[in-house]
């Protein structure tokens, strides 16, 4: 059992180290594979962060360009997905700064006064996926949440990141992560009331 755990740990380290080496070489084949491997997780994070399908897709591409350019900075000691989402977070912040609001908190008011409206005509991946009533309610409730809460919820619930990892990724204190998580969960309560309680 210990041997299995050790070999699993070793293989994980080898995988991260392999990615770090490939990023330093800017190996296009490895980058292609990484884009495919992390496509859904990255897009989901960006969708929840921006609340806008077109913006999320733009930032998706921008994130991978940044990964290509800053790949030599990845040391392979932390999980690649954490580093990738940190890059995505910074890309989103840069995007918001270019659009004028100074932080994610202000993003809600930045798009034509309607918070996180999907401006794209086609249904977003989130809309396509909202097959049942509860999912639809939850999606609507998520859209109403400020981006700072959605981001923490996504990182915790979908990515199952540790609270310390989230704090490091978003550059906020640990206590703030806990507060945002608590408030985010409680804000989604009305959307789940019919189905769960």
């Amino acid at each position: 059992m210990v041997v299995t755990a050790f070999s699993a740990l070793l293989s994980m380290e080898t995988e991260e180290a392999r990615i770090a080496r490939a990023l330093r070489r800017r190996d296009p084949d490895v980058l292609d594979a990484l884009i495919v491997q992390y496509q859904h997780r990255l897009l989901r994070y960006l969708l929840h962060l921006t609340g806008n399908c077109a913006t999320a897709e733009d930032l998706f591409q921008e994130t991978w360009m940044r990964v290509l350019e800053k790949g030599h900075l990845y040391d392979g000691k932390s999980r690649f997905v954490t580093w990738l989402l940190t890059i995505a977070h910074n890309v989103a912040i840069d995007h918001l700064r270019r659009r004028s609001p100074a932080s994610l908190d202000e993003m809600q008011d930045s798009e034509n006064g309607a918070p996180f409206e999907v401006q794209d005509a086609r249904p977003s991946p989130l809309e396509q996926a909202a097959a049942n009533e509860q999912s639809a309610r939850l999606e609507a409730a998520m859209q109403q949440l400020p981006a700072i809460f959605r981001e923490v919820l996504t990182l915790r619930i979908h990515e199952q990141m540790k609270l310390e990892e989230i704090a490091k990724l978003i550059h906020i204190p640990l206590a703030t992560v806990k507060t945002r998580l608590y408030r985010g969960v409680m804000a989604l309560r009305p959307a789940l009331k019919g189905g769960a309680e």
Partner: protein
């Protein structure tokens, strides 16, 4: 039961799914949840939210992935070309530096020998050599300064006419 008990309970609820909690903490939490409806509600709420959010799959369009891969490949090729050029420039600079240092040393020695031959003070020859080395750089610097925007009455040419008038 006080405020810090609720705070501890909520923290343990947050931690138990990902980080995990120890046996003693888990036992304390179970005990607390049986008597505290508010914390128990938060625990249920977190479970429901987790389940519901995970039930919404998000799929990236194939076209997006393809376009991203193409952009990344193109940019990677551009960066490789750029790096090759920077490497060549770096090598050229180093070789130029070595050549300059070597030729300066040889020039200095030759001028010393020449001064001895024609019986002129070595300081005169050394000064001539320094001027010879610096003359091109000084000439270029003077030329650049003469054509610099700030050379026009000390004000840049790119200032608008109205601003120029105001300044006058």
């Amino acid at each position: 039961m006080n405020g810090s008990d609720h705070e501890r309970a909520r923290e343990l609820i947050l931690l138990r799914d990902v980080e995990g909690v120890g046996n003693s903490d888990a036992a304390w939490l179970e005990c607390h949840l049986t008597v505290c409806e508010e914390c128990a509600r938060f625990g249920r709420q977190l479970e429901d939210t987790t389940r519901a959010l995970r039930s919404i799959p998000v799929t990236a369009p194939i076209s997006l992935v393809g376009a991203t891969q193409a952009r990344v490949r193109q940019r990677a090729a551009e960066l490789r070309d750029h790096e090759a050029k920077v490497f060549l420039i770096g090598i050229s600079f180093c070789l130029g530096l070595l050549w300059s240092a070597g030729s300066a040393f040889v020039g200095w020695k030759v001028s010393g020998w020449l001064a001895e031959k024609i019986q002129v003070s070595p300081w005169i020859v050394a000064t001539g050599l320094v001027v010879f080395w610096l003359a091109p750089a000084i000439a270029i610097a003077v030329g650049l300064l003469a054509h610099h925007p700030l050379a026009n009455h000390g004000r840049p040419d790119w200032l608008g006419a109205s601003i120029k008038e105001e300044l006058q």
